[in-house]
């Protein structure tokens, strides 16, 4: 076996392999089909070349040369056909040339076994049986090998000049492969015409295969990767099926003495479903393995994404849409990352959702944005490196390089523009495939379609969201104002209620003593009643009126502004002693024969720190209540010390008590106990409200305790013990303003 035989065999194997891969890849694309034909023609030529080289006799050598010529005479026309379909050239002229090329090729075919094509074989140089060219062979060289190939080459060069990006690189490699292949092949022709040059270039024909293979990997020419995956799966399945079959035969032979025994048939019933289950499992495992470790492209992910694109149109919710896009792309294409960035108010692109590792939240690269807007096409990082390498001007080179660097920075392998109405509303950023594979041309076509549909859908969703939010803000504003109005109206309602309570109480409070005064007055006037007897009653009435007015005035002051406390050191026992004496003289106390007493304390009652005038008012009020609401029995005042910090003053009566349902209202303004009116009809319902305010204003607290109706009540309040808080008191303070004041300075 000589060197030429080996080179032919290499040519045969490589071209067959490549053809097969491309054939399995995609039969629908005409560029792939024609490429398969070309590979087939090269294979036929190479394999018979090999057989011719190893043949030992003249007849078989002649037969093989005629057979190899069948391959070689179709190589030019298939080549041209492939080039035209790859370049997508479909003009009339090219179609006619292609048509004529086929006619000519078939004419040559019909003469291939005649001496017009190959005269015979002769010994020349090292070859024992080299063919001699017939007249038609010369025409073939001129028309097909030069003309058709040349026409293809011219078209490639023309397209190369006007193409951009990936296509440009693909064309470059095809041209390169063409020249290598056909020049290498052409070195065979010299010996046909007795020119004594050996076909040394024949071996480099196989280089065209490697060049194209390289282009397929690097520039996604013909998309070979998916094919390789399929081959792997098919091979795996075939190996399994075959292995299983042989294993069974061995098993049957070993256990039952043959495949055709009864036991074997019966066992088959069990084995058949087992095989099906295993087959399914193996298929899945192979696919998973291939996806994970060999080729990432999922079997039918393109279908999945196409389906998603259709589905997208049905959504209006922005979150849903973006989740769908991100999740589907990442999952089906098996990417390490997928995310969507949307334009914000500042014109940057803010992360909306990202799935996968990420540390970028904002995209604000003007170059990237401009580039996406200009090309409106998916931007592939790896292509940028190539663009940069092959740029003519320095600026272009730097720009491509910067873009590349930026994509590295944001860990993006692919950026898809979302363009609506010439505006870039967002960017879909994709990471790499987990397998490390590059994106195929079909991936990118698909993603291009996706990004267009996604752009429209997202824009719609954004507008919808905007409208929704506008509606929401409007609703919020309305709610807010409604709330405001409601609050105001509630406040007004409260004021009205207060006013009417006030009027009711006031009129009652004032009218009662007035009616008493009037009654006695008229009786005196008519001589029915003695004046000296009536006077104390009239005076009592007057006092009540004065007290009521004072109470309301105090309440008014408390409402209008914080009651100002003027604390000083106070001897509270002196105040209480005096008040108790006063209360004993009250008409009620006398009528009911109430015992009012102060339990002498077991400790020295300390001075306290309070506004003594106001606290006097509190004690007086509590004592009044005790007198008013106790029919019979006693009222006891007693002191307690709380942690030496507070003095607690308790007033315990044996009166009507407080009903449990009245508890919450005890210290409320204008409220009176359920059982209060019958005992003391003239209460204003404001005394305890004021008392509470005063006690709290002095840093103490007021509480009450009652065992229930007619079981008495104890009111207690605390005031801070005097501990050098301020100046010494000169004695009992008279906080009441003088009823008469003379301004000497003004006289």
């Amino acid at each position: 076996m000589n060197f030429y035989a080996v080179s032919a065999l290499i040519n045969a194997i490589t071209s067959l392999s490549l053809g097969l891969f491309v054939f399995l890849k995609n039969k629908r694309k005409s560029a792939n089909n024609t490429f398969v034909l070309l590979s087939l023609a090269v294979f036929i030529w190479s394999i018979f070349y090999f057989l011719w080289q190893i043949s030992g006799d003249r007849d078989s050598a002649l037969l093989y040369t005629r057979l190899l010529s069948i391959g070689s005479l179709f190589v030019p026309i298939f080549y041209l056909h492939w080039v035209l379909s790859f370049l997508e050239i479909k003009d009339r002229k090219s179609n006619i040339i292609l048509f004529l090329g086929y006619i000519v090729s078939f004419i040559f075919l019909s003469f291939s076994f005649s001496p017009f094509f190959i005269k015979g074989v002769e010994k020349i140089l090292i070859f024992d049986f080299w063919p001699k060219a017939g007249i038609l062979y010369s025409i073939y060289l001129l028309v097909s090998y030069t003309g058709l190939v040349g026409y293809g080459l011219i078209n490639l060069l023309k397209s190369y000049r006007i193409s951009e990006g990936l296509k440009r690189y693909q064309i470059r490699y095809i041209i390169f492969g063409t020249v290598i292949g056909f020049l290498g092949g052409a070195t065979n022709f010299f010996l046909w015409y007795d020119i004594k040059i050996l076909p040394i270039g024949n071996v480099i024909v196989s280089l065209y295969v490697f060049i194209l293979f390289y282009a397929m990997i690097k520039y996604r020419l013909m998309d070979i990767r998916v094919v390789a995956r399929k081959v792997f799966i098919y091979f795996g399945i075939a190996a399994f099926t075959y292995g299983f079959f042989y294993f069974l035969i061995w098993l049957y032979g070993y256990a039952f003495g043959g495949v055709f025994s009864t036991a074997s048939y019966l066992l088959g019933i069990i084995i058949a479903p087992l095989f099906v289950i295993l087959f399914y499992r193996i298929d899945e495992e192979l696919k998973n393995f291939a996806n994970k470790y060999l080729f990432v492209s999922l079997y039918n992910y393109q279908e999945t994404i196409n389906k998603m694109i259709d589905e997208l149109a049905g959504y209006i919710d922005l979150d849903k849409i973006i989740n769908l896009i991100v999740d589907t792309i990442k999952k089906t294409m098996q990417l390490d990352k997928a995310g969507v960035f949307l334009t914000n108010a500042e014109g940057n692109y803010q992360i909306f959702k990202i799935n996968g590792s990420n540390d970028v939240s904002l995209v604000r690269n003007n170059l990237l944005i401009k580039y996406l807007l200009k090309t409106k096409k998916p931007l592939v990082r790896e292509e940028l490196a190539l663009f940069s390498e092959n740029s003519i001007t320095e600026t272009e080179k730097t720009n491509y390089w910067k873009l590349y660097q930026y994509m590295v920075e944001i860990k993006a392998s692919l950026c898809l523009p979302l363009i609506v109405n010439k505006k870039l509303i967002g960017i879909i950023v994709l990471g790499s495939k987990i397998s490390g594979d590059p994106y195929t041309k079909e991936d990118i076509d698909l993603l291009n379609v996706l990004s267009k549909q996604a752009g429209i859908t997202i824009e719609n969703a954004l507008q919808y969201k905007q409208i929704q939010e506008f509606g929401k803000t409007l609703q919020e504003k309305v709610d807010e104002q409604t709330k405001d109005i409601t609050e105001k109206s509630m406040y007004l309602q409260e004021l009205l209620t207060m006013k009417s309570d006030f009027l009711r109480v006031v009129s009652h409070q004032l009218n009662t003593p007035l009616s008493i005064i009037r009654g006695y007055f008229s009786m005196v006037k008519d001589g029915d009643y003695k004046l000296d007897k009536a006077l104390p009653i009239i005076e009592d009435g007057l006092m009540r009126i004065i007290n009521t007015v004072s109470d309301f005035y105090d309440a008014y002051k408390l409402e209008g502004e914080k009651m100002k406390m003027e604390p000083r050191k106070t001897d509270i026992t002196a105040v209480i002693d005096r008040l108790v004496e006063e209360k004993k003289k009250l008409q009620y106390a006398k009528d009911r024969k109430l015992k009012i007493l102060i339990k002498s304390p077991e400790f020295k009652v300390p001075s306290v720190w309070c506004d003594s005038g106001k606290i006097t008012h509190v004690i007086s009020n509590i004592l009044d209540n005790a007198v008013f609401y106790t029919y019979k029995g006693s009222i006891k005042v007693f002191y307690e010390l709380v942690n030496n910090d507070y003095l607690k003053i308790n007033v315990k009566d044996t009166g009507s008590g407080v009903l449990e349902k009245d508890y919450p209202r005890v210290f409320q303004k204008f409220s009176r106990g359920t059982n209060a009116s019958s005992m003391h009809p003239d209460g204003s319902g404001i005394g305890l409200y004021i008392s509470k305010k005063i006690v709290e204003g002095n840093g103490g607290e007021i509480v009450f305790e009652s065992k229930g109706e007619n079981k008495g009540t104890t009111f207690s309040f605390t005031i801070p013990v005097y501990k050098d808080q301020g100046k010494d008191d000169k004695g009992e303070a008279d906080v009441k303003e003088n009823k008469i004041e003379i301004f000497l300075k003004n006289i």
Partner: protein, 135 residues
């Protein structure tokens, strides 16, 4: 006329009070002049030159709206050189520290809280003020 005869202008709108105090002041040898019209009161103060004026603060306007016309009178008197030395005693049922302060600043001779005072206390105060203003 003896030195003992004094003249008072009683500016008040409440008939019961006017009648009551007319009797009381006349018993004390006062010439008792009264009005509830602020402008008339001013004219009277100028023409009669009383020894003192008892001034209510809340005096309704002729159309019966509540107004604190007493203050207007006080300001007018104190701004009139001919009568500014006549002591004006405010006699009111208002009892806030603010009102007291206001009266003092406007130049009132005294402040009497109407509700809590007996007629005796009122005449005593008036006499005291007159005594001091003469002295």
């Amino acid at each position: 006329m003896t030195a003992d005869v004094k003249k008072i202008i009683f500016i008040e709108d409440e008939k019961a009070l006017i009648d009551m105090y007319r009797g009381i002041f006349e018993k004390e040898n006062f010439v008792f002049i009264t009005t509830s019209d602020i402008n008339k009161a001013l004219a009277l103060t100028e023409s009669e030159k009383p020894d003192a004026v008892l001034l209510d603060i809340i005096i309704p306007m002729p159309e019966n709206t509540v107004a604190e016309q007493g203050y207007d009178y006080l300001v007018a008197v104190k701004n009139n050189n001919k009568i500014k030395d006549i002591p004006v005693i405010v006699f009111t049922n208002l009892d806030t520290p603010q009102d007291r302060k206001k009266c003092k600043e406007m130049g009132a001779a005294a402040y009497i809280f109407k509700r809590d005072c007996t007629p005796k206390e009122v005449t005593d105060t008036v006499l005291e003020v007159i005594r001091r203003s003469r002295g």
